[in-house]
Every structure is written in C-alpha cells, then in structure tokens.
C-alpha cells in the first residue's frame, strides 16, 4: 500500500510537472506562430512551387493547381539553348573573381590600416571606404554608368589626358566582367576591411611584444602574429563564400548590362528573370532556378559542414 501511494504521488508530481512544462512552453509556441506562418507561406510554398519546373505551367490554373506534367521536358529545352553553358561560365567567372578579390583586397587594407598610428586618419579612412556599402546598386550603377561613359564620362576624360582612346567599359565584352568585379570590390571592400580589422584588434598584444623582444620587425610581426591571428576568420569566410559561387550579383549586373554585353555579362539570375518574367516561359526559367537552388543548396550545406568541422562554427 505504502509503496503504491508513494509511486502514485511520484507519478502525480511527474504528471503535474509535465503539465506545468507544457503550460510554461505554450507562450513560446505562440511567439513563434506569426513567424512560422509567414515563413511557411513565403518560403515553403515557393519551395513546393518549384514543381513548375516539371509542368507545362498555365498561370490560370494556379500555383498548386491541376497543371499538365511534362517530366524533364523543360530541362531538355533549357539545355538545348545554345548559349546556356556560356551563361553558366559567365556566372562562375564573375562570382569566383569577386570571391577571390573580396578576400585579398580587404585583408590587404586591414593590414595596411593596422599599421596606421594616427587614429583620426584611420577612422576617416574607414568612414570613407565603408560608405558605398550602404548605397543600393541602383544608385551606384547610375553613378558608374555616368562616369564610365565613353563619350562624356570623367574616367575616359582622365584616361584621355594620357592619350588613351575612350574605352566603352560597360559596352565591351572584354571589359564588362572585370568592371563588375572591380565595382563590386568598390562597394564591399570597406565593409570587409572592418570585419578583418575587428579580428586583428582581438589579437593578444603580448604576442607582438614577445615577437618584438625576439627581434622581429614589423613585417615579420605581421607575418608571424597578425596573419596567423586572422587565419580563423579568413578560412571561415572563404569556406562560407563557397555557397555563393553561383551568385554573380543580380542587382549589380541587371542595372549595368545591356544587349551588347550579354555574351560576357549574362548570368543565371538575369537569364531566369528575362525568360520567366519578360517572356513568361515559366517552366523553363523555374527549371534553371531549381538547378541553381539545388547546386547552391549542396554547396552551402557542404560549406557549413566544413566550417563546423574546422571551427565548431554554427549559426544556431
């Protein structure tokens, strides 16, 4: 009897505690509800919507409606487009160049800025180089289109002083991809420089002191203390950038490309836009988008996995 009562009481307490826990958790579920509903509608419904890639999609019948299934026909069509591989190549070339320059340039600047002893100068430099990051590509493209114009742009006027003939930076295939990379560096390097500088300032100063007492000059201190101190953030950002090799920068290229430079400047995203929204070829353009999303999915997952294995980096 006695044993029974105690066990009942224990169970009773257990049940109470479970009940209490559930009750205590309830408000947390409610807090998550609005966000969950929004993300289910605006992120998960489009994920199911990629089935358009396997349909002969008619908008009138609705997104999840009764559409005609065509298997891989849209994919066959996409791969029969003559310049599809050129578009893939353009995307990879521009994106990879941006990633590489987006690592080298800011690290160089962070190291150079780190040598500056005048604090006011250091702060002003940061303020200036960081500013374009916050302007939209619409504004920055407007500025670039003006200054790079072959007839009236200040860039070509300047080159003219040295006897260089006007270059149509945004209208020649040999220039366009590089102008995209360079202007992307212009917009983003200040931001990344500050990220790397933050990493440098977190290096233990006593390391520099001991290096100096061992007779290391500035260059050797940079090589043996600063760079190793930054290696974690550098490798981490390199690994994470793996997920963006198919993102060549829609906002930027869309605002600066033109029919003359389609050959070198058309990227996957601009192609999806033109096919899908301008020509209403919903099936094929969703097929292209789906392939891109899938490849990016694999790359991002792999990059997070590597980052986790190397640095125990996790977002949540």
């Amino acid at each position: 009897m006695k044993a029974e009562t105690t066990s009942v009481t224990k169970e009773g307490i257990g049940a109470m505690r479970v009940g209490y826990k559930t009750k205590r958790e309830l408000p947390l579920h409610f807090m998550l509800l609005p966000g969950l509903i929004l993300i289910l509608i605006f992120a998960y419904v489009p994920m199911v919507g990629v089935t358009i890639a396997f349909q002969h999609f008619l908008p009138l019948r609705g997104l999840l409606g009764n559409q005609e299934w065509v298997g891989f026909d849209n994919f066959d069509y996409v791969f029969s487009i003559p310049n599809i591989w050129q578009v893939v190549w353009n995307t990879l070339r521009i994106a990879v160049l941006k990633i590489v320059m987006g690592i080298i340039v800011p690290i160089t600047f962070a190291l150079l800025l780190n040598e500056i002893r005048l604090l006011l100068f250091k702060r002003m430099t940061q303020t200036i180089i960081y500013f374009p990051y916050f302007l939209s590509w619409v504004i920055l493209s407007g500025i670039l289109i003006d200054i790079l114009s072959p007839s009236s742009g200040i860039a070509n006027q300047f080159l003219g002083v040295f006897g260089i003939k006007p270059i149509y930076f945004l209208g020649e295939n040999s220039w366009f991809p590089y102008v995209m990379v360079a202007s992307d560096v212009w917009k983003t390097f200040g931001f990344n420089t500050i990220v790397y500088l933050a990493a440098i300032t977190s290096i233990d100063p006593s390391l520099y002191e001991s290096a100096a007492s061992d007779g290391a000059g500035r260059i050797r201190q940079t090589w043996h203390v600063t760079l190793p101190g930054m290696h974690m953030i550098i490798v981490l950002l390199m690994v994470l950038s793996l997920g963006t090799v198919l993102d060549a920068g829609f906002d930027q290229i869309f605002n600066m490309y033109s029919p003359q430079v389609l050959q070198s400047g058309d990227i996957i995203d601009t192609m999806v836009y033109r096919m899908g929204l301008l020509q209403a070829q919903y099936g094929p353009s969703t097929a292209v988008g789906l392939l891109k999303s899938l490849v990016s999915f694999i790359l991002i997952t792999v990059s997070y996995w590597i980052a986790y294995r190397l640095f125990k980096y996790r977002l949540f």
């Binding site: 947390l28 919507g49 916050f134 200040g190 353009s285 969703t286 789906l290």
Partner: protein
C-alpha cells in the same frame, strides 16, 4: 611603445599613407563628381567642363527633382514600406529570437523550429514560384507585396538570439519564480537589456527597405506605385519617358539630363547619409554579435 623609426619604416609609412589617401580619393571622386554635375549649369555639363567642382552653380536640377509629383509619390511609398516593413521585421525578430534562444529543456521542440527556419537559408524556391505566389495571394500592387515576403529575417533572428543568450539565465529564472510570464520576461527583461542589438537590427532593416528596388519593379504593376529606388531604376538606368508629362519634358529639355539624374541619386542617398554615423557606430558591435556562437 614609441621607438625610433628605422629608415625602412619611414619609407613604408610614407608609402602607406600615400596609398591609403589615393584609395580614399578614388572612393570619393565618383560621388564628388556626381555632386558637381548636379550643381552645374546645362551648358557646362554638356560641354564636359565639370570635373570635381560645380561650373556655373545652379540649384535648378534639384528644384526640378523636388517639384516632381512622381518623385514625392515614390518617396512616400518608400517611407511607408520602410516604416511598416521595419516594424514588422523587428517585431518578428524579437518574437522569434526569444523562444529559439531557450535551451532544449525549456522548449522541447526547439530543434524542430530551428531547422524550419534554418532550412530557408539553405534552399529557396527561386524567382518564378515566389512571383506567382504573390500574384495568387492577390497582394500584387499593394504595400504588402513589399513587406511580407521578407518579413522574417532569419539572419537577424540569429544575431538577436545570440544576444539573448548572453542574458544570465538566473534573471529569467528569478522572474519566473516571482510569477512573471514568458511574455513579461521578454518585454521587461530581455528587450530592455538588448537595446543595442535591437537598434543595430532596426537600422539594417531600415537601410534594406530603403534600398530595395527589385520587388517594387516586379510586384507593382503601375509605375505610380513604385518605391523610390524602383522609380530611380527606371529613370537613371533605363530612362523612361513614359513616366513623364509633357510640361515636365519641356522643362527637362532646358536642363541637363545628367544633372537631373545626379540630383535624384543624391537626394535618394541623403537618408542613408543621415543614418550613416549610427550605422557605423553600431556596426562593429554588430560583428561582435555575429561572432558570438551558442
């Protein structure tokens, strides 16, 4: 700390300062040039005389821009979307970050929720399904099309929840023992101590909304519903005469097109310039937020 500089160091310093000054100038020159263009007289601009200083100073391009109804309409729409959108963004960030910052013991389904949100950072449906969804929801041509699709900013939720995790758990437990509900704990303990993080996220959301242009371009059927950046896109990048009335066209004929474009771009950049000092101040704390991992 201060030791005598060797010759090599002096040379390096001279080089370093010069190099950084040149780079800063290179970053600034485009903006100065655009500013000079926007303040110069038509003949001077078309004659290619304007370099880095206004030639035959005039405010006429700005007067023209600020007199345009279309400009103010677009400005108003951007203001609405930025305020409404940011309010929704920040509200959701707080509401999502609080439960997700709890341990598995306090919210047993936490990992399921985390995966639901995290997965959207790994995979997306792409442009076409999202476009068709907006169309079928019937929110095309409304402010909601600009505000709702990006309402949940998962990355900001992560920043915020990492900040919430730094709040000592004892504070929450103490509040709990005193009978405070989760709701009260969130608003009276977590939110007040997290104001720096909330300010950072608010600023980034504001700038994000201010700068968005593509959603306006595809979700708004009429040009008179365009937010400012979409409107600028059609004017600056694709110069579109259809959005212009006859009298406007006549007035524009007397002005230089480049000056007008420059003036519009600069006016659109002014709000960013105004919040820039705050952006910069909060930014470094923002990086630190991001680097704290649970």
């Amino acid at each position: 700390m201060l030791t005598k500089q060797t010759r090599a160091q002096k040379v390096f310093n001279a080089f370093n300062y010069t190099f950084l000054i040149v780079v800063c100038l290179l970053c600034l020159v485009p903006f100065i040039h655009i500013l000079a263009l926007s303040l110069s007289d038509n003949a001077a601009v078309s004659g290619g005389l304007v370099k880095l200083w206004p030639v035959r100073f005039t405010l006429e391009p700005y007067r023209y821009v600020l007199d345009r109804d279309a400009f103010w309409r677009a400005f108003g729409i951007t203001l609405q979307r930025a305020l409404l959108g940011t309010a929704i963004n920040v509200m959701l960030v707080i509401l999502l970050a609080y439960p997700l910052s709890k341990t598995k013991e306090k919210l047993r389904t936490r990992s399921l929720y985390v995966w639901v949100f995290f997965f959207t950072m790994l995979f997306n449906g792409g442009l076409i399904p999202s476009y068709i969804l907006i169309k079928e929801l019937g929110i095309m041509n409304t402010l909601w099309a600009l505000v709702l699709p990006g309402a949940v900013t998962v990355f900001n939720v992560i920043l915020m929840l990492n900040f919430f995790r730094q709040v000592p758990e004892e504070m929450e437990d103490a509040a709990n023992i005193d009978g405070a509900s989760h709701w009260r704990t969130l608003w009276q303990i977590y939110v007040p101590v997290s104001m720096p993080a909330i300010a950072t996220i608010t600023l980034f959301c504001l700038v994000g909304h201010w700068n968005s242009w593509f959603d306006g371009l595809i979700f708004m059927r009429n040009a008179d519903k365009y937010p400012l950046q979409s409107y600028l896109q059609t004017i600056v990048v694709e110069f579109n005469f259809q959005t212009m009335s006859a009298t406007e066209a006549e007035r524009l004929a007397k002005l230089n097109d480049r000056s007008v474009k420059s003036a519009q771009m600069l006016v659109a950049a002014i709000p960013i310039l105004l919040v820039y000092p705050f952006l910069q101040r909060y930014f470094v704390s923002g990086i630190r937020l991001g680097s704290v991992k649970g």
